[in-house]
Symmetry: C2
DNA sequence: GAGTGGTCTAGACCACTCG
DNA sequence: GAGTGGTCTAGACCACTCG
């Protein structure tokens, strides 16, 4: 653990515990330098972390203020779609089960070729999973992954967490995801598996997930019942 | 303009122009030090900017790779909702018009009190605007702003860009926004103004926008026709 | 003018990856 | 062992804000 991460953690704890209340100033950088016995550059790196999280904001010539965003008081876990639902649910104490509806290998159609940057001869897994929370239909996930990047996929894995397998077994590292969110009318699949009525909207979150080297390794469309899911996030302006 | 910003701009240009093709390595940090005649810390700050933008990724002991994300080749303008639609449209060469349906002052209800952190005695503007693109209904925006933070709002301003006024005239600085995206059934308003059919889903993007000092100054719900709008963004993992 | 945060330097040590 | 990026130091100068 780097020093600046340590310091950021300490400061974050103090903010969340009310030690540095919202609206007050953080101690001056020179004070933090003496408290933690580090150079000012290191203090600044720590403060930058908190700025990225939306906890504080600095003004030249004035100081660094503790903000009062929703995220200051609420759970800090930015819901990351690619962490997988398993993670999300485990932390919410709700029981998630997965039902594998389709699992096969095929050559990608044009859309999948484009999203995953494959040729038509590079096969992909095609996966359709229904995810249930407390036995209620929650999300229908259409997933495509290139065989060569994610070898050894099994139905058993799909029934638990794909991401656990990808990270722990394959050692794949994720750099980020490109997401598109839209509203849609229910498809026949949605009506069947999500028990959506014809007039029930669907919230679709599609994403392309990238490895650290920039190669896309997952393209998925998550179709959510409109009444059980929204998507929230904090969008901080660059410094 | 800081040195590291200059360097980041130069490197970004080289990446987009194909000078540093996707998949290749960026020059080593020591090489960049000699080229730009700066210290390595400054080079690193520049590279960090590009990492945040999803253009490159570094690996210890290896080097910094140029990635091949959608954003590497496409327009880099991350659509920021709080920039206002006016900006977005001006850059897409599509004509945006605004129709003010409601504009008044009222005491906030409980929801608005909570979102904007106001007491029930602090009045807010209530604004309902229909925004049309090429004369087609596009978004219906319900907006609330506290009077004391945004004084002097006029109907004339609403017909153009609220954000231009807030930034240029009032000098307000924005730190970020908290957004929630969901799908919904059309309301009576949506049916009337967006010409939504009863079975047409609505994509709702609601946001609370914060000033630099952490005070919320706008709460809005943008109701979009499902067939003309989606919401895309790049979610990069923290370093 | 005094104090603040933002940037920058010229070094240093380290963990990591590769052959 | 040689090379890489990540972190850190102890200084320095600056633009900005405030009284």
């Amino acid at each position: 653990m780097a020093k600046y991460e340590d310091i950021a953690n300490t400061l974050r704890t103090r903010i969340k515990s009310g030690d540095y209340p919202a609206g007050s100033f953080l101690p001056k950088q020179t004070e933090l330098v003496t408290e933690f016995n580090v150079s000012r550059m290191t203090v600044q790196k720590a403060v930058e972390v908190l700025m990225m999280e939306g906890l504080v904001a600095s003004k030249k010539g004035v100081g660094t203020t503790v903000l009062d965003h929703p995220f200051t008081t609420r759970d800090t876990s930015t819901l990351s779609e690619y962490e997988g639902l398993s993670w999300e649910m485990a932390h919410g104490n709700r029981q998630l089960t997965s039902q594998v509806i389709e699992f096969g290998v095929e050559f990608p159609d044009e859309t999948v070729q484009e999203k995953l940057r494959l040729t038509e001869e590079e096969p992909v897994y095609k996966i359709l999973r229904l995810r249930l929370v407390e036995d209620q239909p929650f999300v229908l996930e259409h997933t495509y992954m290139p065989l060569n990047l994610v070898p050894g996929m099994k139905k058993e894995i799909l029934e638990h967490s794909i991401y656990h397998y990808i990270r722990q077994q394959l050692g794949l590292r994720i750099s980020g995801a490109y997401r598109t969110i839209r509203a849609d009318k229910p498809s026949d699949y949605d009506k069947l598996y999500l028990q959506a009525q014809p007039e029930d909207p669907i919230l679709e979150i599609s994403q392309i997930v990238y490895q650290q080297d920039g190669k896309p390794f997952e393209y998925s469309r998550s179709r959510n019942r409109y009444d059980v899911r929204d998507y929230s996030f904090l969008d901080m302006k660059g410094s």
